[in-house]
Structures are given as structure tokens and as C-alpha cells.
Amino acid sequence: MSLGIAIISLLLLAGKQIEEKFTRNVAGIDMVIGAKGSPLQLILSSIYQIDAPTGNISLAEANRLTRSPLVKSVIPLSMGDSYQGYRIVGTNQQYLDHFQAEFSEGKTFEKVMEIVLGAKVAQNLGLKIGDTFASQHGFDGEGHAHDEVKFKVVGILKNTNSVLDQIMTTPLESVWAVHEAGHHEEEEGKGANALKLLEEDDHHHDEAEHHEEEQEITSMLIKFRNPAMGMMMARSINQNSTLQTATPAIEINRLFALMGFGIDALKLIALVIIIVSGLSVFVSLYNSLKERKYEMALMLSMGASRTKLFILLLLEGLIISVIGFVIGIFLSRLGLWLMSENIEQNFHYDFNVLSLLIEEIWLFCGALLIGLLAAAIPSLGIYNINISKTLADE
């Protein structure tokens, strides 16, 4: 009983909270522009910071495409580095404003290599204002370290309950600076391949142009004045440029539809477990009634009415169901908490563990009903006890 309830409640909770997280983070973003590839990947990496980015795009091109009266605002994002597993995202002040971020300490980034930490990042890494560190390439913490330039912590955000808690933000220029420094060193030190050399030559030739045109970002978050009109713009970008657009709402629905199969299957299994446990309550009550037939006959001979004993047995079934439900809810919370610890470590996502859902009240009613039925059927046997025979038999 408890097990089935625990599984169903866990599924409800996890599903609900994932959906909440996903929708909270997506709010207000109508479209994402990035390199060609999987649109789902683009959404996951740019909005939720959980998948690998699709590749780089030219800032200039993205700017050109989004220079339109339909666009309300754009937020550039540049990813690729991390520090101890937490992502460093190059962006601008608008990104922080988008989440209505507030500072618990310090101030926002203003200069290159200044960095602002999300609440969870600061808490878990134990970094303070004024600390410096070097980022690593990639997200797994094992990439090549960019030792040449160090980030300086200038601000720590309050908890926003969004993806912002789990990342560090810095001006776009910092990300470029880190990688430029890397390029130069490579060139001077080991010597790069011909293509790289050519590229680097370009850099040197048009230093000014480089900063204007070759600056790369990973993706761009876009808010439209009118989302319906935006769809048309999205289509034109997809057809006429090397970039792709993705609409968060559509991609997330697709993701949920895929996950939905798994969740439905688990729900079915949990339901079967509840029914089986209902049967086992039935069997055990039936057996215990047989064992206690003498007790029942005794109480009947002492003046108890059959209805009274019937209610007594019914209550027993009900109490078992209620205890089963309480243990089940407790188990599901425990499971969610463990899951949340695990997920937070691996994906920097966390769950709120303690809320009780409306669905769980229905679950409670269902559990009571099953317990009641399972108790009522064997308890009806109380009306068939032959007192004299039962008492005489033993």
C-alpha cells in the first residue's frame, strides 16, 4: 500500500515540479536563435543550461537578423566554460533583469572579467566577493584550464528559484577575453595547425574588425512585441540564414510528450501495486477474521451487536489505509529529497520537497476507498458467525 502511494505521489510531485521549473525558466522568452542543430538541444542549453550548446554563431549576424521592429529585446548568451561544474555564461545586464535578480551581496558586473554568482553556486563553492578563479573549458570540470586570465567575483545574487541560481554570469567580453588569451598562447607556444594560423592571421590583420564582426556568441534569447508576428520572422531566419530558431513552448511540449510515456507507465505500475496491496489487506483481514472468529463470538456472547463488530473491523481496515498513506507520502518525500540531492549535484537543479498536492488528496480518498472495500468484504462474515457453534468448537 505505502509503496504504491509513494510511487504515485513521487511521480506527481516530480512531474509537477519539473514542469514548474521548466515553465518558470521559460517565461517571457519567445524564441531562441542559435547554430543549426537540434532545436531541443538549443532550448535545453540556452534556457535551462542543462545540455551542451549547439555551436557558435556570429554576433553580428544575429544582431542583423534581429534588427526588426517586432523584437522587443534580445539577450545574447555565450557559453562554453565552467568552474567546478558550474557554468559561466557570458551575457549582459538584461539577462539578470529578465529573472528580476536581486543582489544579496556586491554589485552587478560592469567590466571584463567581473563575475556574478548565482545563490546556489556561491553557497556550494563557498566563494566570496573579491575571490578570483580561472575557468575551465567545457562543462565537465576536466577541460583545459584558462589560467591566463582570472575571474573576479563582484556580486552574489539572491535566490531566484530559477536557472540563474545555478550559474555564474559575466559580460560577453569576458568569455572572448578568456578564449583570445588562450588562442594567443597556443599560437606562441606549440604552434597551431595551418587553418588556425590563418584564422589568427586574420585576427591580427583586422583587430578592429575582429571585435566588430567576428565576435561569436552561443545563442540569443528573444522577446517579441507580438509573438504571432514573431513566428513569421522565425520561419524566415530558418530558411534564409545559417542560423536556426527554436520556440521554447513547442520544444518543451515535445519533451513532455516524450517523458509522458514513461510517467504514464510508472503510474500504471503504481496503480497495480495499490490494487495488489488492497488485495493483500483483504486477504490478511480475511485470515485474521478467521483466526479471531472465537474472539468475535465471545464478544457477541458478551452482548456486542454484530453491527458494532462490523464497524470495528471496518475501522481497522481504514486505519491500515491511513497509516499506509502517511508512510507512502513520507517515503515519496524522502525519495524526492534524495533525488533532488542527486539531481542538484549532477544537473544543478533542485526541487522543493515539502508541498502537498491536490492530486494527493484524491490519492488519499482512493486509498481510503480501497482500504474500506478490502475491509468491508471479509468483515461481512461477522454476520454469519454461529456463536454457539464457534464457542463449542474450541
Binding site: S301, G303, S388, L391
Partner: protein
């Protein structure tokens, strides 16, 4: 007091019983002796209203009870008849004390803790009141079931083979306690048994 006249009962047309008449006044003791299969327990269950006789009359406290309905019989039994069964049976989930109070509760009377306490003292199991019934020895359990039969101050105590599972010592002790306690509350005591050891103890006897 309790009395029966021309009592008959049939489980089936081929299995019929006719029981001898007897009457037993308050504070008197009646022994009903009989071998197995003679209908001893049936006789007791008839007197206890657990079975409805096919013919004849029973009076308890000068009230005719053979024609009471099932519900009336249950109520009458709870208030006026105390039964001591062959083997002591209890509600296992409850303590000794609660098993005693259960008789009050099911009989619709106030739960008399003092009475349970004093009965336990005079029957010698006062120190076991908070234990579970299964933790008691056979003899102790039999004494608890006597106390339970006395809890509602019934006018008749019916005892079904109260001594068959006890050794000689305990047998006499239990009978002694039974007679003393019933006389104290002014009830009639009817003992149904095949136990020949009791033959010498009781004056009034009926043979089935």
C-alpha cells in the same frame, strides 16, 4: 435463580436432545454431569440463550426467556448471565484489565475499574492486570475468565467444563473461588462437566 422445564433441542431430526428439569435458587450451586455427546454444552448454551430451544421453558430471575428475540436475548445475557468457558478465551489485543472492562462495555454498563481491581485481588491475579492475557498461565487465565463472568453482577453464572484442563490442586481452587464469588454476589451457579472430581464437591446434581 434459574429453572428449566421440558427443555428440548434438535440440531437435526436425527439428533434430538431432551433435558431434565432442574431449578437452582440464588446462592445455590447445581452440578450437571454427563459424558461427551450427551449435550452438556448444548444445555448450557440453551440456558445462556446462545441457542433457541425447540420446546420447553427457561426462567432466569422469574422471567421467561425462552421466547426472547435474538437482540433481546443478547441484551439479557449481557446483563444477567456470566459465562465461564471450557478454555479461557480473551480478546488478545487487550490487557487483562481491558478484557474485564470489556464485559461492562459490551453489557452497556459503566466501566467499573474498582470492581475489576477487587476481583483481581480476591482471585489472586492483581499483579497481572496490565499484562496481555497470553502472558498468563492456564490457571491464571481461568481465574481471569471467572472474574470477567462476575463483572456485571449477573444473577446466573454458567460454567462449561471450568476444570477440565486443570490439575487437581487448581481444580479445587477454581471451584472454591467460583462458589465463593457467586455466593458473594448472590447468584446461582450452574457447572456443566464430565469431571468426576467435582462429584463429591457439590450437593445438587443432575445426570444427563
Amino acid at each position: 435463580m434459574i429453572a428449566t422445564q421440558n427443555l428440548t433441542f434438535a440440531y437435526s431430526p436425527s439428533k434430538q436432545f431432551t433435558f431434565p428439569d432442574f431449578d437452582c435458587a440464588d446462592r445455590e450451586t447445581m452440578l450437571i454431569l454427563g459424558k461427551s455427546g450427551k449435550g452438556k454444552t448444548t444445555f448450557l448454551h440453551l440456558m445462556a440463550l446462545l441457542l433457541k430451544p425447540t420446546g420447553g421453558n427457561i426462567q432466569i430471575n422469574h422471567q421467561e426467556i425462552s421466547q426472547l428475540s435474538v437482540a433481546q436475548a443478547a441484551d439479557f445475557r449481557a446483563k444477567n448471565v456470566g459465562i465461564v468457558y471450557q478454555k479461557p478465551h480473551f480478546v488478545h489485543a487487550l490487557s487483562v484489565m481491558d478484557n474485564l472492562l470489556l464485559a461492562n462495555y459490551l453489557g452497556g454498563k459503566n466501566q467499573a475499574k474498582d470492581k475489576a481491581q477487587s476481583l483481581a485481588e480476591s482471585l489472586g491475579f492483581a499483579e497481572h492486570l496490565s499484562k496481555k492475557t497470553t502472558q498468563l498461565s492456564q490457571g491464571e487465565q481461568q481465574r481471569v475468565s471467572i472474574a470477567r463472568a462476575l463483572m456485571n453482577n449477573p444473577s446466573v453464572i454458567l460454567a462449561d467444563e471450568p476444570t477440565s484442563s486443570l490439575d487437581d490442586d487448581n481444580c479445587l481452587k477454581v471451584i472454591d473461588l467460583l462458589t465463593k464469588q457467586t455466593q458473594e454476589i448472590g447468584a446461582s451457579l450452574v457447572v456443566v462437566t464430565h469431571d468426576q472430581r467435582l462429584k463429591e464437591v457439590f450437593e445438587k446434581q443432575v445426570l444427563l
